[in-house]
Amino acid sequence: MRALHIKALRDLWHLRSQALAIALVIAAGLANLVMSRATLESLSETRQRFYDDHAFADVFAQARRVPEPVAERLREIDGVQAVETRLVAGANLSVPGFDEPVRALMVSLPDSGEPLLNRPYLRAGRLLAPGSEDEAVISEAFAEAHGFAPGDTLSATIYGRQRELHIVGIALSPEYVYQIQPGTVFPDFRRFAIVWMNRRALEAALDMDGAFNNVTLKLAARARGDAAIAAVDDVLAPYGGLGAYDREDQVSNRFLSEELRQLDTMARIFPTIFLGVAAFLLNVVVSRLVGMQRDQIAILKAFGYSNVAIGLHYALLVALIVGVGVVVGLLGGIRLGQWMAGVYQDFYRFPFLEFRMSGGVFLLGVGVSLLAAFVGTAHAVIAAARLPPAEAMRPPAPERYRPALFERIGLARWLSQSTRMLLRNLERRPWKSLLSVVGLAFACAIMMVGRFQTDAIDYMIDAQFRIGQRNDLSADFTEATGPAAAHELRALPGVRQVEGYRNVPVILRHGVRSERNALQGLAQDSVLKRPVDRDLRRVPIPAEGLLLTDYLAGQLGVGVGDVVEIDVLEGRRRSVQALVAGVVNEYLGVNAYMDLDALNRLLGDGERLSGVLIAADVEAEADLFRELERRPRVAGVGVRRLAIQNFYETLGESMGVFTYVALILGGVINFGVVYNAARVSLSERGRDLASLRVLGFTRAEVSYVLVGELVLLVLLSIPLGFVTGYMLSLYMAVSMQSELFRIPVLVTAPTYGFAGLAMLASTLVSALIVQRRIGRLDLIGVLKTRE
């Protein structure tokens, strides 16, 4: 090997701790990048393949009851390639040994065999036998949660009638990759199932002979989606059509798209921070190295090494550091990506989800790492290459010091000589000090972001379930029912209060904007459901006009006092105008509320309820639930306690991991910055410090000058870190918001405290490592040689 290369390797070895700290920062950024980008690619590709192979439909529509021959008119719509009519309905399941409500979405499959669209992917067993009355195929996630296998039986209450179903197969569907109960945000595999049955069997169970209530359509590639949707709406309107929608509004697909969007955001923010910090650290370390090796550069040039050779020599050293970071980052990213794919596979049910790192991601990762290295070190490396040899022979011009700002503003007499040393030193390199503070602030911010999500989730649950929604149980009716149903429930044992509500599908319009949504009618004096404002204060249901979720108001571009148009998609399908009377703050879903009586008047079908909210004694909950489930008119029962429990079960684990990972990542940056700052200071000022020791300073007093400087940097960085952390949380919350859910920007005092303490703790670790080196300062040697 060439002697110059040996030198590069030995220099690297000499710098190993600092190089490692930098390589770790690069690795953390790259691992983040690879994980997010590769997962993003894997997920999009897998989704596309699943959708293509299993004929995911383009348009979806629900109606009350449509005679089968009407399907012919749907087939005639311009651009429609295939039409699949079917029955979709809710049902309750009872699982032996599991004493909690289990909801199912019953989906019919054609008796003739495989459907044209949304074909299930069979994981185990077989599809339904033609003509079978009691066979069922169930969704994989649910089967796994309860250990069901083909051959088992299951009891289902469909339309109030109980029946035994024989499980023949376990399947997945492009329609239910993200499997959630309507109206919820997180999957609950134990309490929600997709069950496929033969069309004829479901027709019988639902009293729907010769009719369908759900249709999916495939459009030709050239077809205009909105035109087809309008045509479908026209055809289905007389049959209680609830408005057709495309993939964008299909729940499972919508959640997946949101997830991909978030991954994309992740893939941008975190790698940028890490690689930015890495660039800064490389700059500090390489500049110092070049400074220290002035004489070596001079001698190499004196013997005829060219500028290019010198430049390449230092570039090689940088490349080695980056190389270590890249290798660790790529391997770490792949490992994290595989782990992520596993997590995704739990939440998003694909037939397969293979984590694959494409050449593109590889090149991107290596490319941005090299770019960061270039930005960080180009200046120092070029300076080394250009250093005139005769000048390099001479020691560098002495550093210019001057009294620090604190001294200039008259605080000098309060400062000890050591304090002056450290202040002047910080001020002498204002950019370096500033960038150190910025880098440390990012470390602090990342640690905060890790905790912010946990805070936010707690707050969301509190706002949604404890303040906004106070019912213990809820029951949806199969169809709108008179108020007698509510009175009847009030008489059940353990029930403290019952309030009815009505839900109608509507399209809200304002100017050119429109949103499909449910309009919910609530009694003005409702106490079980109380929409609240941003400060969690109750917003009463107005006698006239609407309350809108803030996000919905934003989407429609309306505020209090504006008028929106409401197209009711049910009954007489009236269109009316209503005033926006208030805006409410909700984190899950979006809603529009109006007075129950006013809604009933608008619909004109009398005093009716879609369901009830129930407050009940805790001991009576289980009995009540069973009682409700037996009633034929009750389509589904919700238990608030279980909803909250599920929320935490689903998210708790991944939140914990996220907090932990963010802590480590923040720690990596903190260590990278503090340790490198300390080592560079030590190398720049070894002579000063040794001189102080010779003059009789104790080790602790000497450490104060060095460690005090670091602690000052960290202390300066923490407030900035708090601000940055808040902004980063805000950015993440804003970039993740959708009509599905919004994350509140809420950073609690414990989070600030946690991040601040974590910063100090990791600074302490770096300081202790450097402290040991101060103990080993060569007092005599350092004074004997020329600097």
């Binding site: 040996i6 090494y305 005139p388 040899p389």
Partner: protein
């Protein structure tokens, strides 16, 4: 221009001004000089007299502010950076007061770093043998004494078989006994290889081993002395 064949360096009216931080330093104020092939020349003068600047210019490490300087027929005044680099690589060996060894390379590697880019070098082992340090070749600079380090520096300087060897205070950081060993090495190389050797020193005793002594003061050559009888390095003491 026509220069006698045995003249290696030819300089006239050399001046050099450089900035050091905020201070302007007039290092050379019109130096005229000729050095002959195989000559052993000592430059003597107090610090700040311009010795190092003159040496740096002769070695192509620096360019004068005004005047002219030739190495054989190479115009060093007008050479660009690339030309000066090639000149140093092919013709010049340097030895400095503080050895300037690369601390991360062993003795052998410190020599190899130069032989690797030279046109017709001796092997690092041959060079180390010339300075009597073969047994120490796998030691790092930090493991060697000052005299040994300086002899490694000399081995490094001569390994490429340079036509000129420029030494800036080669014994400045050494005690007299060690310094003599270093000078013996220089004397032997000058005698055996015929390398033109220029040694800067402010130690007047060393001057007695030179063919010729140039005295510098305040950026000018103020006196020249030719030794009728050279002393052997081994006989020097200070």
């Amino acid at each position: 221009m026509a220069v006698p064949a045995d003249i290696v360096f030819h300089a006239r009216g050399l001046t050099k001004v450089y900035r050091m931080g905020e201070v302007e330093v007039q290092a050379l104020r019109g130096v005229d000089l000729q050095l002959r092939r195989g000559e052993f020349v000592v430059l003597l003068g107090p610090s700040g007299s311009g010795k190092s600047t003159l040496l740096n210019i002769l070695g192509g490490l620096d360019v004068p502010s005004a005047g002219e300087v030739y190495y054989e027929d190479h115009d060093l005044m007008r050479a660009d950076d690339r030309g000066l680099t090639a000149f140093r690589r092919d013709h010049v060996g340097f030895v400095f007061q503080f050895y300037n060894l690369i601390p991360s390379l062993t003795a052998r590697e410190n020599v190899a770093i130069v032989t690797e880019i030279a046109r017709d070098p001796m092997t690092p082992e041959q060079a180390l043998d010339l300075v009597g340090l073969t047994p120490r070749r796998d030691h790092f600079p930090a493991q060697l004494s000052g005299g040994e380090q300086q002899r490694i520096a000399i081995a490094r300087a001569i390994a490429k078989r340079p036509s000129v060897l420029l030494c800036d205070e080669p014994t400045g950081a050494l005690d007299s006994a060690t310094g003599v060993k270093v000078l013996e090495a220089l004397e032997r190389i000058n005698a055996e290889t015929g390398t033109t050797t220029v040694v800067i020193t402010h130690n007047a005793d060393i001057a007695s081993m030179a063919h010729r002594v140039l005295y510098l003061a305040d950026g000018r050559i103020v006196r020249e002395h030719v030794n009728a009888m050279r002393k052997r390095a081994a006989d020097l003491r200070w």
